[in-house]
Amino acid sequence: MELVYSQNRERQAAGELSDRELALQARGGDMVSFEVLVSRKTPVVVSLARRIVGNAEDARDVAQMVFLRVWKEIHRYDERYSVNTWLYRIATNLSIDFLRSSRSRERAHGATLHLVREREESSAGGATRTAEDRDLARLFEAVSGRLSEKQKAAFVLREMEDCDTRDIAEILGCGESTVRNHLFNARRILRKEIARLYPEFLRGRTLA
C-alpha cells in the first residue's frame, strides 16, 4: 500500500517535469519518468505513425517500437536537442521501415490486406476523428500510395505536423534542399493522383 502510494506520488511529481527533464531522469535509469514520458508522447507518436503507415493498428505497433528504441538509446539522448525532434526522428525512421516492409508484404499478398485494413479503420479508428478529418485522412491514404517513403514522411511532417524544413531535414537525416525536393515531388505526385482519382477537388471543392 505504502509502495503504491509512493509510486503514485513519484508519478505525480514526474508529471510536472518538462519533456527534457523527464528524458534526463530516464537517462539516469528512472523508470517512472520514462513511463510518464511514454504516456505523454504516445498521442503524438501514434498520430504521426498513423499518417505515415496509414492505419491505427500498425501505428500502435510502431509507437511501441519507438519507445523501446528510446529506452535502449536513452543514454545517447543529447539535452541540447528537443525531445520532440528526437522522438519524431525515431518515429519517422521506424514508420518508414515499417512502410517498406509492409509494402513488400502487400506486394506478396496482393491488395487484400489493404482492403481488410481499410474496413477495420473505418469501423475502429474512426471514432477518434471528426468526419471531415476522417475524409481528409482517407483522401491522403488513397492518393499517397505513389509517394516514396521519404516523400510521404516529409509531406506528413510539413503539412500535418507543421514542422520547419530544418527540423524535417534533421528528422530525416538529410539536407534542407533534399527536403524541399521531396516536398516538391510529393506535391507533384499528389496533384496528379488527386486529378486522376478525385477530379472534383481541382474545381475548388473542399472536404468541408
Binding site: S39, R129, D133, E159, T165
Partner: protein, 184 residues
Amino acid sequence: MSAICGIVRAGFDDYLSDALPAPQRRILRDHLAACAECRGAAAARDASLVFARRVEETVGADEVADVLASVRTGVAHIEAERRLRRPRGGRRAAAVAAAIALAALLAPAVSSRRGTGAPAAVANAGIRVTATAGRAVPAGGIEPAAAPPEAAAPDSSATVYELNPGSGREEPRVVWIVDRGLDI
C-alpha cells in the same frame, strides 16, 4: 471574403515554394482550417493544399494504456537481456582467478619434478577437472580441483590435457589432469 483572405491567398505561392516564414505559414494554415472559401481557392490553386492544415487526432486513453503496457513488457525484456549479458566481466574475473589458482596448483608439481617429491594426497586423486572459467564442474565421480594447492597438486606422473586448446580467450578452458598411475 475578409481582408485576411486576400493576404492569405497572396501567400499560396510562397507557401508552395517553401518561401513563407514559419509564423506566416502558421497563420495561413490556421486560416485555411477556419475558412471554407479559402480552402476552395487553395485547392483550386494546388490540390495538394487541401492537406495544408493540422488534422487533430485524438488518441484515446485506452490506446495510450495499451502502448504503455506493451512498452513496460518490452523494457522488462530488454533489462533481463542486459542482466544476462552483464556477468561477462565477472566471468572474465573468475577466469583470471582460476588461472592464478591453476598456476599455484601446478607450481608444486614443477618443483616436485626437480626432486622435492609428490604430495601423497594426489596419488588418490584420480581424475581432477579444473574449470578455469568458473563454470560448474561436472559431477559423478569427477572431483573439482578446488582443494588447496598443496593438497591438489598432481604428482610427477600426472599428464595434463587441455580441452579446447586455443579457444581459451573467450570460451572457458577445461583442463584435465589425469593420473597415469590409475588404470582407466
